[in-house]
């Protein structure tokens, strides 16, 4: 076998490998970088009292800050499509985060919501709204849903926050059906 064949095989394999690795790394990189950019948009939102975009062509914007187990991320308005790549997103159809009723926020299990692994009943999750009001939610239960559908708890006047992400956390091939959900009830 000619050595050039082997060398070019080597180079091609290496090239393909590196492209995949680049893609694999790009996802978490995007997730981290976006949060930095969102941080300044959030400061602006807080100051001007109106939605600010993190970069000029963005179709996402921050609406709340969520702190779980000491880690804080900025929650995006439900933009559909790609917004989850940049941060946890409000699931439309549920109440706006930090308002009355039940709000649902979802994020990727391997980036922003990896932290949900550590959440236990009794943990406290804090949500800060754009107007500066903060709300604390105590985790009541965690549950694995077998289908990507969430049945709302009854409207009984209690304010709830539900965090959802894919499950299991460490599976390499994503499961398209199962979800992990954390139910918190407002304590103050």
């Amino acid at each position: 076998m000619s050595r050039w064949v082997i060398i070019s095989c080597c180079v091609v394999l290496l090239g393909i490998g590196l492209v995949f690795i680049a893609h694999g790394l790009l996802i978490p990189a995007k997730a981290v970088l976006a949060q930095y950019l969102l941080e300044s948009a959030w400061q602006k939102t807080r100051k001007d009292k109106k939605a600010a975009k993190p970069w000029p062509w963005a179709d996402i914007w921050p609406i709340a800050r969520l702190t779980i187990d000491g880690k804080s991320t900025l929650v995006l308005a439900d933009g559909g499509g790609e917004s989850l790549a940049f941060g946890p997103s409000h699931v439309s159809g549920s109440a706006r985060p930090g308002t009355k009723g039940t709000s649902v926020i979802s994020a990727h299990r391997d980036t922003h919501f990896q932290v949900l692994k550590r959440v236990k009943p009794g943990s406290v999750v804090t949500l800060e709204r754009a107007d500066g009001v903060t709300r604390d939610y105590e985790v009541r239960e965690t549950r694995v849903l077998s289908k990507p559908k969430l049945l709302f708890p009854p409207e009984d006047g209690r304010d709830r926050l539900i965090l959802v992400t894919c499950w299991p956390f460490d599976a390499i091939v994503p499961d398209t059906q199962k979800r992990f959900s954390v139910l918190g009830e407002r304590i103050r």
Partner: protein
């Protein structure tokens, strides 16, 4: 999924994706298809009719429908429809249900009456939040209650609390609609398929045969039994009783039912009654009745009504097709805008591409066109519109094939580019905007469209599973065009074809309605689309006492067109005030985009809806039976009965006596089958004790997004390749060493 789609990487990426997909597919094939045995979810087509909640969130079991009674009164172009559905709770438990009923976009719903068991509940109009509260409180107290709400203008949803064991449930809804008129032909449609219907399966027939023959054990040859057994005294299965009455002041002709055999009485003068003939009714077809008026157009196209001392009217305007049938077709300039933002990635983009390709094929040689795409940036195929010759079309095809979805959604520059770019005024200019509407600054965009529109017409095509229909519908309204929804790839061609036919016809533009004598007129809709030949527009209006006549004017293919309407010649119609109110509420909602504050709109629209007792975005119908469901003695019930008789006329006949005696055999068998299917279904009915109704309160289901990234699998595949490369390199080093 494509993050880096610059050319060199493309091949590799596709290869990688292929590997990735192969892995995913083999992993998931096994668990993919869940089995549904009688269960419906909110996504199914069967999500209509009365559904019982099951223990499993988001899944429902359909209540057996025992009968349907429909009465439609037609006067002129208004139809008032009253629908009664007869259901039964075949279980031994207290249950809670929801009832979903889709209606035409412009229907004005004003009545909800329910009968659960022997109790009657009549809905009254209330402000939405208040109505919800009343319903919730009643449910907590264990009272029977019903709430009719709407989120979107065409889907109505009733919540029903406290349905007792073996209760019969009658749901009555009444609404008005305007009848569709096309080329002078009136077309009335009614959806026959509400909820999953039980059709006699061979098993059911076998069971029946054995019951009838008195021998439960002989079941031979039953597979072949067919409808003859379902005859008279047993009562038909799912009987549908439908009558249409057409007010008879104006003679009509060519009355025809398209899918169902009917009996028509007295087609001459006086009211005409159309009745479904007895016997089986095909459950898979809508009832469709067409007829044509036998009089000059003007006489049938204007109606008035006096309601609470106010005067309302309805007028149908038809473009003058007859005058110049051979209108010189104006040459066109068609600008396509396609959304290639990240949210369009995947299926949506392929649908959009298919629609675009279809449209390109249909361009005439004389037409000019351009293709604009936008995501975070706007770019276009050509600098300005070019003739649709072979060379340009093939360039366009290549351009479309290469479109790729990524980035943000900046619509404004694209809209500006499309609307400002006109240089040939003699051409009919049409912008076709294909998007999923994932935007937040709707109001600004509407203003942009309205301000720059001029003679251009703006048509929207909604793509994908959950497009922002609201945005697209209103963008088309402001753009005086139409909105087309393409739900999946299969629909792309047929929907585009419809749109194309519309686009190619000559139109009547700049339509307005003005008083002709002293007095005032308040007409809706305010934003009037262009009229295509054969497609009439209906105005609902309120007018002052003194007004005698008004005119409708517009710019037609051969100049100014004016038609006079004399109010004194108008026929009397019913329900016009409600249709007017419905239009007014729609119009109020749109004024938000002209700077009217949301609170003001809400306040005014609520007032109108309450006054006219209409279910709307701001108001709901709510009904509560004051007597708690539990502990209602028989005596009390029978005491209450007399007052309720008019409504319950068919109750005994359909539901039988208190313990099911006297119920038609067909129904008993049907209920038995329903019970069996509930038992075999892999979700059981949620039971609610009436006193504890608080628990099972919610039926709201939320679909959750996909929240796992392929990051790890990419890394893994990447590492494998690198590993392979290293292995090869090592091998080579070894080989050399050996030499």
């Amino acid at each position: 999924m494509k993050f880096l789609s610059d050319n060199p990487a493309q091949f590799v990426l596709r290869l990688g994706l292929f590997v990735y997909l192969a892995i995913t597919l083999t992993t998931f094939e096994a668990g993919a298809a869940p089995s549904f045995s009688g269960i419906v979810t909110s996504k199914d087509k069967g999500y209509e009719g009365l559904l019982f909640q099951t223990e499993e969130p988001g899944k429902y079991l359909p209540a057996p429908l025992l009968g349907t009674d429909v009465k439609i009164d037609v006067s002129g172009i208004i139809s008032r429809v009253r629908v009664r559905h007869f259901y039964k709770n075949p279980t031994e438990h207290w249950v809670e249900g929801i009832y979903v009923f889709p209606l035409a976009d412009k229907s004005a719903v004003d009545t909800l009456t329910m009968r659960i068991g022997k109790r009657i509940i009549k809905g009254v109009i209330e402000e939405k939040v208040r109505a919800r509260r009343i319903y919730n409180e009643a449910r907590k107290k264990g009272q029977r209650a019903a709430l009719l709400e709407t989120q979107r203008p065409n889907v109505f949803r009733t919540s029903v609390a406290n349905i007792g064991p073996n209760d019969g449930i009658i749901i009555e809804i009444a609404y008005q609609e305007t009848i569709a008129v096309k080329n002078g032909q009136f077309r009335l449609r009614f959806p026959m398929v509400v909820g999953p219907r039980y059709t006699p399966t061979s098993a059911l027939l076998a069971q029946l045969a054995s019951i009838l023959s008195g021998d439960e054990k002989t079941l031979p040859e039953t597979e072949r039994l067919s409808s003859p057994i379902l005859q008279p005294e047993q009562g038909p299965l799912n009987p549908v009783n439908l009558t249409v009455r057409i007010e008879g002041k104006l003679p009509i002709r060519d009355i025809k039912s398209h899918h169902h055999p009917v009996a028509i009485s007295n087609p001459g003068s006086g009211p005409i009654d159309v009745k479904l003939q007895d016997g089986s009714v095909p459950a898979d077809r809508d009832f469709e009745l067409t007829w044509s008026p036998d009089l000059p157009r003007a006489a049938v196209s204007i109606f008035t009504e006096e309601w609470k001392g106010e005067r309302y009217g309805l007028v149908m305007v038809t473009p003058p097709a007859g005058k110049s049938p051979q209108v010189p077709n104006r040459y066109r300039e068609i600008i396509f805008i396609i959304d290639t933002s990240g949210s369009m990635a995947g299926k949506s983009l392929s649908q959009a591409k298919a629609s675009l390709r279809y449209a390109l094929e249909k361009l005439g040689r004389q037409d000019r066109f351009n293709v604009i795409q936008f995501n975070s940036h706007t770019s276009s195929l050509f600098d300005a519109a070019v003739p649709a010759n072979k060379k340009n079309l093939s360039a366009a095809r290549t351009y479309i094939d290469d479109l790729d979805a990524q980035g943000g959604t900046e619509m404004r520059p694209a809209i500006r580019f499309a609307l400002d770019g006109q240089d040939d005024r003699s051409r009919l200019r049409q912008v076709i905007f294909i998007t999923d509407g994932g935007v937040s600054n709707e109001a600004k965009l509407f203003r942009e469209i309205a301000a720059r529109l001029s003679d251009t017409r703006f048509f929207t095509i909604g793509i994908g599973s959950a497009p922002n229909q609201h945005f697209m519908r209103w963008a088309a309204k402001y753009g005086r065009g139409t909105f087309t929804f393409i739900g999946d790839l299969d629909q792309a061609e047929s929907r585009m074809k419809e749109l194309w036919q519309k686009l190619s016809r000559p139109v009547l533009t700049h339509l307005s309605i003005q008083p002709r004598s002293e007095g005032s007129i308040e007409a809706y809709p305010k934003m009037i689309p262009d009229l295509f030949v054969g497609e009439p527009v209906v105005f609902a209006f309120r007018f002052s006492d003194g007004l005698k006549a008004f005119k409708v004017r517009g710019q037609g293919p051969d100049g100014l067109w004016v038609e006079d309407f004399n109010l004194e010649n108008a026929s009397v119609g019913k329900g016009i005030s409600k249709l007017w109110a419905r239009e007014k509420i729609d119009n109020l909602r749109s004024s938000v985009y002209w700077g009217v504050s949301t609170d003001e709109v809400r306040k005014e629209a609520t007032d109108v809806a309450l006054k006219h007792a209409l279910v709307s975005r701001y108001t709901s119908l709510v009904g509560v039976d004051e007597t708690p469901a539990r502990g209602t003695g028989e005596k009390l019930v029978s005491k209450n009965m007399p007052a309720n008789l008019p409504f319950g006329w068919e109750y005994e006949k359909i539901f039988g006596g208190s313990n099911g005696n006297g119920m038609p055999l067909m129904h008993r068998t049907l209920l038995k089958e329903a019970r069996n299917s509930y038992q075999t279904a892999n979700a059981s009915i949620k039971q609610v004790a009436p006193a504890a109704m608080v628990q099972g309160a919610s039926t709201k289901v939320l679909a959750l997004p996909q929240t796992a990234t392929p990051s790890q699998i990419y890394l893994l595949i990447g590492l494998l390749f690198v590993f392979g490369a290293v292995l090869l390199a090592l091998m080579r080093v070894r080989l050399r060493a050996c030499r």
